[in-house]
Subunit: 345 residues, 2 copies
DNA sequence: ATCTCAAATGGTAACGATTCCACAGAGTAG
DNA sequence: CTACTCTGTGGAATCGTTACCATTTGAGAT
């Protein structure tokens, strides 16, 4: 019969090397206070047996778990995939693993994921919350002293550190740019109005419009290609169709683009298009799509950096300076001008 | 001072509920053999303290870790992002977490990642190996009885279960389709010839060409936009430019498309284009790009399913039937006809 | 020769859960 | 009335590692 635990243990190494467990422990932790002779012998046994320390035992002993948890709506979404990639890199630099869970923006699933991650005693949590109003478990963990950082989105009044793109400003700048082209009937298209980011962008759009005395034209019901199609079709049928469309998110931009192409509406001649969030092929489309570009990798990277900053400061004694920061950290967005807004005809 | 471990323990629950630790353990594991009275009392204390079992302690006691490791070249790559998403879903269905690590196709980093994951005693490993020739650590883990499944790519002669798309056949079908359009000077463009998948696709292309008596025209040096541009520019300058291009991977397809557009070569009139691997905007480009479509989610899903199948069969006693399978499992690809190959002009 | 000190080493108690075993008390069949 | 079984319960060993403390040894100082 086979042993159920195929991995050799520290005790086995000790026995085989004819030393105590303490000595082996010292060897695998840097070899201080061990004679060169013993060190070589123990190391040889370790290599021979292929010994690898059991992280679970270390965690039980009180060490950090060397894992961080990430809770995101989807991995397949390029935005969150990039965040995850950046966070993984930071985690790896801290000798830690990243556990990724997905929520599909369902608060219930989000809660379950946080629960499971907590059972596993991850050192910290990166969370893109589905709901900006609250997340009881995340807040409670934060109060218990477990480092939590929210990113891309915010939980208001939670006191949890967060890293965001400046959605409000990005949308404001985008709208102002369209206005500066002379467009006045600017339609704002989006979906999922419950998301923090989209609300912020909508706010930016509204402010820019009102500031110039223009009337906001909003349709937040665009969920898929079909709804985009019917929304745009309806507007084209009216006497006064919009002269520009500002889309609040990636997928909406693509739906709008394809719909306009389908109805053979020339972009930007009849209707200009400007989207929030860049995507790989935005410049390969004809016309190339102008967009607001978010610092995608930075969001994931900075969030993870702050997480480690916080979790490393735990237990460092009172004289350890925790860098005082102002949250939320807002990262700047960039207006990338291509053809669809009318800039380079 | 604050306790370094902020989480309440089972013993604390037991003390507060005035029962033994055994009873609390029974409560959190289904409540069998506990009187309704005690059950309620213990449950109340658990809720009140917000107790959550410490997974590390359970693992040490011999339970499964409820984590699986995934080792992929990149998370930001949509192909692997989809695999990861699918695998995460399967993991979650088995009450497990997915630990994702990235290698950038560097065998050294891959080895390190496998090492770290092993320290964490993950229940199993999903691996898209950088090198098809061997991966000593993965093979050794597999021999030790730790479930490993490779996906998308193969390690030859390793005996490790694997799940792949049928790259050879996909490329053969693609090439045959171009030939059926009447093209004869079909250029095959790709990069990173060390990857298993690309080698298989190249093999399929070669076979299809030779089968029809056509001479293969291959350039595997396309690493980025610049190299694609110069490769195509050179060919256009020759007296006999290709009449079709078959690209072996996603990024190459996009490079080729953009280069052809830049040189104002009409697609498919002068040069047709067919790419391996679909991408979200392939149908939004003009012309829309014809592609070989891989069952992306299926690859990740099936790989994860087989992993759990294998790891659940461990310790199930000899009478437990392990479904006997033939590896590698090859999943079928699909030819998606759009405009760029000349099908729908 | 004796004392002191540092280096090298090992025994053992934790850490937080599970689980084997023991045991008390109640019901019940003979 | 005895001999069971069955339910409800808890004590204590255990998993693999670390860390506190004790012990041994040899070198150098007095």
């Amino acid at each position: 019969m086979h042993k159920s635990h195929p991995h050799p243990t520290l005790a086995e190494v000790a026995r085989k090397a004819r030393v105590g467990t303490t000595t082996v422990s010292r060897v695998i932790n840097g070899g201080e206070r061990v004679s060169p002779d013993t060190l070589k012998r123990v190391q040889a046994v370790i290599d021979q047996l292929g010994y690898m320390p059991n992280q679970a035992a270390r965690v039980l002993k009180g060490e950090r778990a060397k894992t961080i948890g990430m809770v995101i709506p989807s991995i397949a979404d390029p935005f969150f995939a990039s965040c995850a990639e950046a966070a993984q890199a930071i985690a790896r630099a801290h000798d830690s693993l990243l556990m990724v869970t997905v929520t599909n923006n369902d608060p219930r699933t989000e809660m379950e994921n946080l629960n499971i991650l907590t059972r596993h005693r991850t050192d910290g949590l990166l969370l893109a919350p589905a709901n900006y109003q609250n997340q009881p478990l995340a807040e409670s963990l934060h109060r218990m002293g477990i480092p939590v950082v929210t990113f891309d989105r915010l939980i208001v009044n939670s006191g949890i550190p967060s890293v965001l793109a400046d959605n409000f400003n990005g949308a404001r700048i985008a709208t102002e740019h369209l206005i500066s082209h002379g467009y006045s009937r600017i339609l704002c298209l989006g979906g999922e109005p419950t998301l923090y980011t989209l609300r912020e962008r909508l706010r930016g759009y509204r402010l820019a419009m009102q500031h110039k005395g223009l009337v906001p034209l909003v349709d937040m019901s665009v969920k898929d290609y079909k709804s985009a199609e019917s929304a745009i079709e309806n507007l084209l049928a009216t006497g006064k169709p919009p002269d520009a469309i500002f889309t609040l998110k990636n997928s909406t931009t693509i739906y709008a683009f394809e719909t306009l192409q389908k109805f053979k509406v020339p972009i930007p001649k009849s209707i200009a298009l400007l989207g929030y969030d860049d995507f790989e092929l935005a410049s390969a489309l004809r016309p190339a799509i102008s967009v607001i570009q978010q610092p995608v990798e930075d969001i994931g990277r900075v969030a993870a950096e702050i997480l480690f900053e916080n979790l490393l400061s735990v237990g460092k004694g009172k004289n350890h300076e925790i860098k005082k920061r102002q949250y939320p950290i807002k990262l700047e967005t960039k207006l990338v001008l291509r053809q669809s807004c009318g800039c380079r005809l």
